[in-house]
Symmetry: C2
Subunit: 124 residues, 2 copies
Amino acid sequence: MVDLKFSDGLIPVVVIDTRTREVLMVAHADEEALDLTRRTGFAHYYSRSRKRIWKKGEESGHLQRVVRILVDCDEDTLLYEVEQTGVACHTGHRSCFYRTVDGEEIAPRVIDPEKVYKKQDQRR
Amino acid sequence: MVDLKFSDGLIPVVVIDTRTREVLMVAHADEEALDLTRRTGFAHYYSRSRKRIWKKGEESGHLQRVVRILVDCDEDTLLYEVEQTGVACHTGHRSCFYRTVDGEEIAPRVIDPEKVYKKQDQRR
């Protein structure tokens, strides 16, 4: 494996849909999350706010099967090419990048997030 | 404009080619770089290593005309959609993401970086 440069133990990950090539989200991985991603084939990240590893879709069911992992020239950023189940964004949009910097929505909400939360409640 | 969340004065920027939708690079912007980008229509970033604003292509001529700027749901990451002149990567690859995490090159070098450096010398 390429000698990755983690910063404070983390490396940013750009996530794209392998079919549409759309940028879905940006998250962070630590070494363990990357290792879990490679071993299981499903995207794992490190949540800076929750201070723990998370498997994408562990609650919503919106998993990401990782088809390929790329690294940039500086070896300090990763790119996961994924098959996205459902949507990537917790707002119900397919991608987290659904607005211009001026706040104009350029992509529709395709899933009602309340239904995803409801599903979570039922799982408890 | 959306109320952006800068971290230590910086916000990460994912850059895609507006034509091919390819992820070209990831860089950082501070408020001034973003303002310059919006005012001039050309991508500006903040270099953490050089500790200064830089206009992409200022030396190589490989400018990025910014067509649209998106923001993610958390308002802590930007996405520049650009028309790339030449190549985005200083290695001469079109995108900085030209290798898998295992080091396999998946995209060719399309420009000889030495020629770009040579051009820089002539400009001095």
